[in-house]
């Protein structure tokens, strides 16, 4: 009966989940325009035709946002351990190994210090390509260290979120990172230093339910999926299809949960302007 149905999952399924591949030519996943690499870079990795924002990782965000050559990565040696000896269909250690070799990244977050229009900033950016940008002990620890460094150097803290939520393989320890990251933000607030949260596609679960939603100013990229529960879980719960645009940046702006939606090409100037205004009131 079902001989004509594909037994295995759609072979292209995972491609939309990852960050954009490096190549000379890239096809826009939204409007199918073929874009030359240089043109893509000039448009801060957005489609020149339809403004689709490609999912990019920390390396590209550093190029897009910070002063050229100013970024000094820190705590890259903080690596995931496997405290619970977690095994599902595969051991956690095997998943980590694969993520290291596929992404050449230290974990789902990259942190450090840099400058933005000459102003020193503490900077962090998540990597969705590393186990779905999931937050385990390493993400929490590096976030806290970056926050501390902001306080020590009296710098604002800029953090870019992209995450499916807490990392299941570290179970309750991952959950506690929500509290840990929120705690350092209270110290940053005591020091009256700006914390700017930039929310990108996608940001859900434990990351949205902690530091992503705690910015003094929260900026979203256009059409990013932002929410607590993922759309599939909600659809299963309410047994209805969700309306078009649900949980997208524009929906959050309308409901009052983000301050602004900013095109990636304008992000750098907006960030700089906001930070200078906020820091300008310091006495």
């Amino acid at each position: 009966m079902a001989w004509f149905l594909r037994k295995s999952k759609n072979i292209n399924e995972s491609s939309t989940h990852r960050e954009m591949p490096d190549g000379l030519w890239t096809k826009c996943t939204e409007c199918s325009t073929i874009i030359y690499r240089k043109e893509l870079e000039e448009h801060a990795f957005t489609c020149p035709k339809c403004d689709h924002h490609f999912r990019i990782g920390s390396n590209k965000y550093v190029d897009v946002l910070l002063d050229k050559g100013s970024f000094n990565e820190m705590d890259a040696d903080v690596r995931s351990a496997d405290p619970l000896k977690f095994v599902d269909t595969r051991p956690y250690t095997a998943r980590l190994k694969e993520a290291y070799s596929r992404t050449s990244l230290p974990d789902a977050v990259t942190t450090g210090m840099g400058t933005l229009n000459g102003r020193s900033v503490a900077f962090g950016c998540m990597n969705f390509g590393f186990i779905g940008g999931s937050m385990g002990s390493v993400v929490g620890e590096k976030f806290v260290r970056a926050g501390r460094r902001a306080i020590e150097t009296s710098s604002p803290f800029i953090f870019i979120s992209a995450s499916g939520g807490a990392r299941m393989q570290e179970a309750a320890l991952s959950l506690m990172q929500l509290a840990k990251t929120s705690a350092i933000l209270t110290e940053l607030a005591d020091a009256r230093l700006p914390y700017i949260s930039i929310v990108t596609d996608p940001t859900t679960g434990g990351v949205s339910a902690s530091f992503a939603m705690l910015g003094d100013v929260i900026i979203a990229e256009p059409k990013a999926l932002i929410g607590f529960a993922g759309p599939r879980v909600i659809e299963q719960t309410i047994r209805k299809k969700l309306p078009e645009g649900f949980q997208r940046s524009e929906f959050l702006l309308e409901h009052g949960f983000v301050d602004r939606i900013v095109h990636r090409k304008e992000l750098r100037q907006e960030l700089s302007a906001i930070i200078e205004l906020l820091m300008g009131g310091r006495r």
Binding site: V78, S80, M168, L175, A179, A209, M213, I226, G256, F257
Partner: protein, 317 residues
């Protein structure tokens, strides 16, 4: 009120108990009192053995037992003068989180907890203990009030998770939880957390940041429920037992990685078998913990609380 639900692994115990009951009904006619007593002793040994070697999934089942005491049971039995306060002052009252004023051993406290229902009707009202944003915002209001009046806070965690609904997203479920974490990390009054049943994910942690984290012996606490973990990592709902093992979600597991501070023993057979004993134990533990925390100056308290959470996590390098 009791549903007399029997969990699978309790069946041998229940069968033996039924046998004893039968023998009792015949005891007037026959001289079998010694045999009855022997069987009763056997039941206790059996129960102790079964409960000593519970698997993680079995504990999850006990944590979800329909007769298990819920937050309001503790609020009315461990505390005196409980006065419930309602509403988030913005949208509505969320019955999935309850809270108010009470006294513990004569001292005022503010109490907050997730609340499940006992039957279909009350479960619909309380949304099976799954809060909406207004529940967390009610808690926020009560937490702020506790700080204002210098009253300690006691939170009771028992939720299958924050509600993953359409309206919950519209009203900012993530923001509501995040703001509570931010507040609780710096609240200038003692906070004692007790995981009494299910501690599922951000929905539990949303009222779960404190100076002392206690956990009942058969409660569970993790980033996700075992069934959901199974469906994501194994792509099937069938691996809940394995998921429960992998998640290491029991009180002893969590104490060993520093997520909780203290395990509160339950009566043999679980809190639901002897609620009064459970209330007495928890009242004594909370009183003792509160006494210890009340001696700490507020600045050190907040400092220690932040340091406690900074220390959570395991990494290399």
């Amino acid at each position: 009120m009791a549903t007399n639900t029997t969990l699978d692994f309790e069946k041998p115990i229940v069968e033996l108990e039924q046998k004893i009951a039968e023998m009792r009904s015949l005891a007037d006619a026959l001289d079998i009192q010694p045999q009855i007593e022997e069987l009763e002793a056997q039941v206790e040994i059996l129960r102790a053995n079964v409960y000593r070697e519970l698997t993680r999934w079995q504990r999850v089942q006990i944590a979800r037992h329909p007769d298990r005491p819920y937050t309001l049971d503790y609020l009315t039995h461990c505390f005196d003068d409980f006065i419930e306060l309602h509403g988030d002052r913005a949208y509505r009252d969320d019955p999935a989180i309850v809270g108010g004023l009470a006294t513990l051993d004569g001292s005022p406290v503010i109490v907050i907890g997730h609340q499940k229902g006992r039957d279909t009707k009350s479960n619909l009202r309380r949304n099976f203990g799954m809060p909406n944003p207004e529940g967390y915002r009610k808690a926020y209001r009560l937490l702020s009030m506790a700080e204002k009046f210098g009253i300690p806070v006691m939170c009771f965690l028992d939720t299958p998770g924050a509600y993953p609904g359409l309206e919950a997203e519209e009203r900012g479920q993530a923001e509501a939880i995040a703001r509570n974490l931010f507040l609780m990390a710096q609240l200038k009054t003692p906070i004692i957390i007790t995981v009494i049943g299910e501690g599922a994910s951000g929905g539990a942690l949303g009222i779960g940041v404190g100076d002392r984290i206690l956990m009942l012996e058969n409660a569970w606490y993790s980033v996700i429920a075992p069934e959901s973990c199974s469906s994501i990592l194994w792509r099937s709902w069938e691996y809940k037992e394995q998921a429960a093992e992998a998640l290491k979600l029991t009180a002893p597991d969590l104490q060993s990685v520093g997520v909780i501070d203290r395990i509160v023993n339950e009566p043999v057979g679980g809190a639901h078998r002897s609620p009064v004993a459970m209330f007495n134990t928890l009242r004594a533990v909370l009183t003792e913990e509160l006494k210890d925390l009340s001696a700490v100056p507020i600045e050190s308290l907040v400092h220690n609380r932040r340091e406690k959470f900074y220390a959570m996590g395991v990494w290399a390098g």
